[in-house]
């Protein structure tokens, strides 16, 4: 078990954040900290634009940072569950 930082890019839509927070509770995962902001500096997200073959506009998506303490197996499961949410563009572990 170790502390992980997850980064989630999601559509900036009403209810999208609640789905992620709800998922943590529903699946019995713990959130230690959470920070969310609309993405303004889209030029810093070129890698994601390339990976998903999309173009981002200012304030169109939000970036969510969650810290949680989990095992490798559970981390994989959490990321898969978050990625399954319809409004989520990508969820990944923040590279250290």
């Amino acid at each position: 078990m170790m502390q992980r930082k997850l980064s989630v890019i999601l559509e900036n839509k009403p209810g999208a954040l609640a789905r992620i927070v709800g998922l943590f509770h529903q699946r019995g995962y713990n959130i230690e900290s959470l920070h969310v902001d609309p993405v303004k500096d889209v030029e810093n997200y070129k890698d994601i634009e390339e990976l998903l073959n999309i173009t981002l506009k200012e304030n169109e998506v939000s970036r969510l940072i969650i810290t949680t303490t989990v095992s490798d197996t559970l981390l994989r499961q959490i990321l898969r569950q978050i990625n399954k949410l319809i409004d989520v563009l990508i969820a990944q572990e923040e590279s250290k």
């Binding site: 499961q77 399954k84 409004d87």
Partner: protein, 578 residues
């Protein structure tokens, strides 16, 4: 073309090919109901309780593969639909639920019949939408149907504030041709590299088992599965949700596995060296204690939902994609290597499985008993129904012992014929689900195998059956107790029957059903069973309810030993454990 929101909604539903809406009107949905009144293309079915609407839509969806559509009002209409939405969610059934909502300016004010439907339904939907304005309706409907039916299917809720369907404001109506959601791209085709690894594992296997679940039905992969096993000749087991995807009468079919699975299926899974999981999710009714599950098996897992793979049991070879497509690719790859498949290699394994079947397989000839010195066995009731319907009926069930007996003793040879609430285990599902099936297939036999506990949870739908003249057959396996609860109390709680009997308070079901305007018969003796069931099934144009009093002491076996047991640890009778 300019239309008001309520007409835009209905036109959008027509465009999706919707035939039936199962629903119940109320204040916040009245604009929508007015638009339904003014058209002939969609038939609205008025149920007697919103739970019935969701289960009926669900039954329609399971039998046809098309999404079921539900319309309810706000507040209690929406909350009553919750159990049915959760039922569909757990079994990955495509469904679109339209819920009325108070007008936008009233949201958050605790208005009359206001409830936060999006919030309440969030954990049990694949996705949900709130309609922001009438000009967004057609796009929302398009997206909702796309999400509900693609990838791993599931229910989608659309909450519709009353003002967005007002008849007095007109909007441009353009039907979207298609839709694209950039954040939603469910996998379709498998990775060829993984398929090749699977082929190698299959060629090496000496003790293989194919374990196919509900996902293989959702993906319409029955033909591919049968074709695959023409090449392999591997033993096959199905989950409760997968019954019918592989023909039950095929020589390689071992029956259901898991909590009440057959001895041979559970033993084969436990002793296998290769498990090919196809659209199955290793839930706790299947694995028993996960740490003790199939200790020698390599696992190949086919699923459309990546989060189902390696969730409970780590897969050695993960194949993400629509299982229909994945199986096609697997078949192609296997066909290139037919010279390497040695059928003799699995011969000892097939012989071992035959021995297990001979030792402790189910007795499928209990129906031959017609002496009145013994009580009617619930298993024999299902066997008679199977015989009379030639195994071709659509069978819905509720939840409990009767459900397990139906799964064990009705042999399903085709997918989408066995309609039951597997994941959530919802009592009350059977009758409304049978209604949905009957609307879809009016000329086919539709049987609801239920119990006196479950049927009372949605019995009001007998009235709906009268209104729409639905000649369903209802077989009430009546043991005058909550049988499965009682069985667990017998096995694990020293026989203390806490709140599992009704103390002579059951209704006279024959009189009750007749008061709804249907036919009903009561059976209490073995010697009357066959003839009464035959009489019931000979009546083609009326709903017939057969109330069969069965041995109240009967248990469902095999039964896995839990907790801390593996798949090989089973009760085979009240006093025999292996």
């Amino acid at each position: 073309m300019k239309l008001p929101g309520n007409d835009i909604l209905i036109q959008s539903l027509i465009n999706e090919g919707v035939e039936y809406i199962f629903g119940y009107p109320g204040g916040a949905a009245l604009h929508i109901y007015d638009a339904i009144f003014n058209q002939n293309e969609i038939e609205h079915i008025l149920v007697r309780h919103e739970q019935g609407a969701t289960h009926a839509a669900d039954g329609y969806a399971r039998a046809t593969g098309k999404p079921g559509v539900v319309l309810v009002t706000s507040g209690p209409g929406a909350t009553n639909a919750i159990t049915g939405i959760a039922t569909a969610f757990m079994d990955s059934i495509p469904m679109v639920v339209l819920s009325g909502q108070v007008a936008t300016h009233l949201i958050g004010t605790d208005a009359f019949q206001e409830t936060d439907m999006i919030g309440i339904s969030r954990p049990i939907v694949k996705h949900s939408f709130t309609v922001e304005s009438a000009d967004k309706i057609s796009e929302v409907i398009k997206q909702a149907f796309f999400i509900a039916t693609s990838g791993r299917p599931g229910p989608v809720v659309i909450d519709i504030p009353k003002d967005t369907t007002a008849p007095d404001k007109l909007f441009d109506f353009v039907l979207p041709e298609s839709t694209n959601i950039r954040s939603y791209n469910p996998p379709v085709e498998p990775e060829i590299k993984q398929i090749k690894r699977a082929v190698d594992a299959i060629i090496d296997a000496e003790k293989p088992v194919i374990y196919a679940g509900g996902g293989s039905i959702n993906s319409n992969a029955s033909e591919e599965l049968i074709e695959l096993n023409k090449i392999l000749n591997f033993p096959v087991t199905n989950t409760l949700m997968g019954l019918g995807v592989y023909p039950a009468e095929d020589i390689r079919f071992m029956g259901m596995l898991g909590m009440h699975g057959t001895y041979q299926s559970n033993m084969a899974m436990h002793n296998a060296d290769l498990i090919i999981a196809i659209g199955a999710r290793f839930d706790d009714r299947i694995t028993n204690t996960p740490d003790l599950f199939a200790p020698h098996a390599k696992i190949i897992h086919f699923d459309v939902d990546q989060s189902s793979i390696s969730k409970i049991i780590e897969a050695n070879i993960a194949i993400t994609g629509q299982v229909k497509n994945s199986l096609k690719v697997l078949i192609d790859e296997l066909n290139k290597k037919t010279n390497m498949i040695e059928h003799t290699k699995i011969k000892p394994w097939l012989t071992q499985i035959d021995e297990w079947t001979d030792q402790h397989g189910l007795n499928h000839e209990l129906y031959k008993e017609n002496s009145d010195t013994s009580s009617i066995l619930p298993q024999a009731v299902v066997q008679h129904v199977y015989q009379i319907t030639n195994g071709e009926a659509y069978v819905t069930s509720d939840v409990g012992q009767h459900q397990m007996f139906a799964a064990q003793y009705y042999h399903f040879n085709k997918p989408r014929r066995w309609i039951n609430s597997g994941g959530l285990g919802t009592m009350g599902f059977g009758l409304p689900a049978a209604m949905g099936v009957k609307f879809a297939f009016p000329n086919d036999e539709v049987v609801c195998i239920t119990g006196e506990g479950s049927i009372q949870m949605c019995i009001q739908e007998l009235s709906t059956c009268k209104q729409y003249n639905l000649p369903i057959k209802i077989i009430n396996i009546n043991n005058e107790a909550l049988g499965m609860v009682k069985q667990w109390q017998d096995m694990n709680y020293g026989g203390r029957h806490s709140e599992s009997t009704y103390q002579s308070s059951l209704p006279d079901f024959v009189e009750l059903v007749e008061s709804y305007g249907h036919k009903a018969f009561k059976v209490e003796k073995n010697s009357d069973l066959k003839s009464t069931l035959e009489k019931a099934f000979s009546i083609r144009d009326e709903l017939v309810f057969v109330d069969v009093y069965v041995d109240p002491e009967e248990h469902v076996y095999p039964m896995l030993v839990a907790p801390n047991g593996s798949l090989k640890d089973m009760w085979l009778s009240k006093d025999k454990k292996v």
